[in-house]
Amino acid sequence: MSISYFPNQRADLPLRYESPVEEAISRLSEALATIPTLAHYSPRWLAIQLLEDDDGLAQQVQAAPGGEAVLHVLAEQRDHLRTHYNDAVDITLTDQRYRFVHQITQRVLTRPDAPDATLSDTIDRIVTHKYLGIPIFLALMWIVFKITADVSAPMLDWVDGVISGPLTNWVVALLSVAGLGGTWVESLAVDGVIAGVGGVLVFVPVLLALYFALALLEDSGYMARAAFVMDRLMRALGLHGKSFLPMIVGFGCNVPAIYATRTLESERDRILTGLLVPFMSCSARLPVYILLAAIFFPAYAGVAVFSMYLLGIIVAILLGVVFKHTLFRSKEQMPFILELPPYRLPTLRGIWTQMWERTASFVRKAWTIILATSLVVWLLIALPVGGQGRFADTELDQSAFATVSGVVAPIFAPLGFGSWESSGALVTGFVAKEVVISTMGQIYGLQEAEEAAAPTTFLEDVSGIATSFVSAVGDTLKSIPLIVGINLFEEEEEAEPTALMGAIEAGFEESSGGHGVLAALAFMVFVLLYTPCMVTAAATRQEFGNVWMWVSIIGQFALAWVVALLVFQGGLLLGLG
């Protein structure tokens, strides 16, 4: 772009409005010129301000001698202009000023036919392309889940080893010193707190990896483009394009995503989007996917996790289309303007802040909601119902938890996971999805408790933690090329499944009649589709009322049941798993 200077055309520069406006300004200026107390104002400037409805100046004119007559002229001229332009006078004047500026810039600026594209423009042309946009979005999400599933795995194993090994041993040793070894207090600490809260904290490296990848996308400015691309797809399906904005928030947590539906103007769109947001896989569901994918799909863990996220988006879109043509029929949506921020190179500090804040919130949740639920689950496991057991010393299948869970277990039998263990985990999972993991850790942890390792000294434990940490860091670095499909690990280095993983696998195999893989897949689908957590339900109630909360809870449960049934029974019919 170049700028030209036209010294001989300066006379053309003063702003002149269209003749009806100039005529009104002229008549009003003449009237204003008759008032001596307003002589310090330029009559033209004052006339324009009055036409544009400046209340302060209008009051000054009214207070001046002869002001009433001027206001009469003002009212006449405003009416005339309003009728002539069929719009508010201030809009007419502002519009003409913009046009005047535009005319000048058109005359003095020489724009190239094809303006120089900035780097942001060039990238946008590709990532927001009509046909390439969605494949690029999916490819980036795939990389996010490769990072989450593969790169975080060594550190996950390390944290798991520390919590289930040395940390548990130290707690047991300390309680023995205090004379509480073998009592219900030890059971509470080990089987309640460590198995429950510890079982969830194991996934901190996974969440750090997820938040790292998401922060990269957000801070670079890509997420706004993702919303733009998905807007286009959703509008093509008849949905409100802006619905995808809350859905993107839902990948982190469904609760703020429910509140983000306020960005939609129509009540119908808000409710519709509020019903769809829970199908976006929040970070709390990720540990469930990771654990089951590691057990049942070890070679394709990234694919399995990615499929769950993709399935959530597909279910939300399909359900949205159905609702839009049935319950939520509404007029065609108006398009909108989206501000795409320029691309930026993410800063280490910015990424770390996001990773830290989000992971800290996960840890806080572990010490509040998850701890409280783990204690309740432990209490129910410790309470004997029938049999010969005593408090904190009873057979698992004779505990209150097994009895209560057993009541709902038949509902899940056709889905392949009708055992009291998995049913119980799903019931407590209504509190928060991480609790599915903590409950499984508590139940299956007790089942595999007999396989205790040989005792070690404190120094051996510390040394083991340090050496395994160094090894985990090395393995993390080696796992980075896995994102692009390069495997630097030797075949024999493949991690052996832990006793807990073995117990979970056996549980699913047993409940499904030997079709554990299909049952686990159906379980993951069920976790994806049923109510994310009680707080999301509460947020739905607050935003949309009691009726919609129950529609959401019951509808999600029914849909989860049907889709999981299709996965399990359909898989059996096709001879899979």
Binding site: T105, L245, V249, P256, S266, E339, S361
Partner: protein, 89 residues
């Protein structure tokens, strides 16, 4: 020019980026921003800056110590649209 901005938004068949619209009108994106802000002031266009997703339950979701600054809320891009129904507050 102002009317042209409204006209272009009304006639659009799909969401537009601010830069795309500025190019279409042959104006600077900053000028377009000013025009959109004018229409927001006049109540013809609604602007959303994506800050509405802050938790307001008073109890948080169990992840936050307070209701301020939900780490998951994120910052949605600024959007402008023609005013339809009254936005909810």
């Amino acid at each position: 020019m102002l009317q042209q901005v409204l006209h272009e938004i009304e006639q659009a068949r799909e969401p537009l980026s601010l830069n795309d619209l500025a190019r279409r009108l042959e104006i600077d994106p900053g000028t377009l921003d000013g025009m959109l802000t004018f229409w927001v002031r006049k109540g013809r266009i609604v602007v959303r800056d994506g800050d509405e997703s802050t938790c307001t339950t008073g109890s948080g979701c169990g992840s936050c110590a307070s209701t301020v600054g939900c780490p998951f809320a994120g910052k949605a891009p600024r959007t402008f649209m023609l005013k339809g129904e009254e936005p909810r507050h």
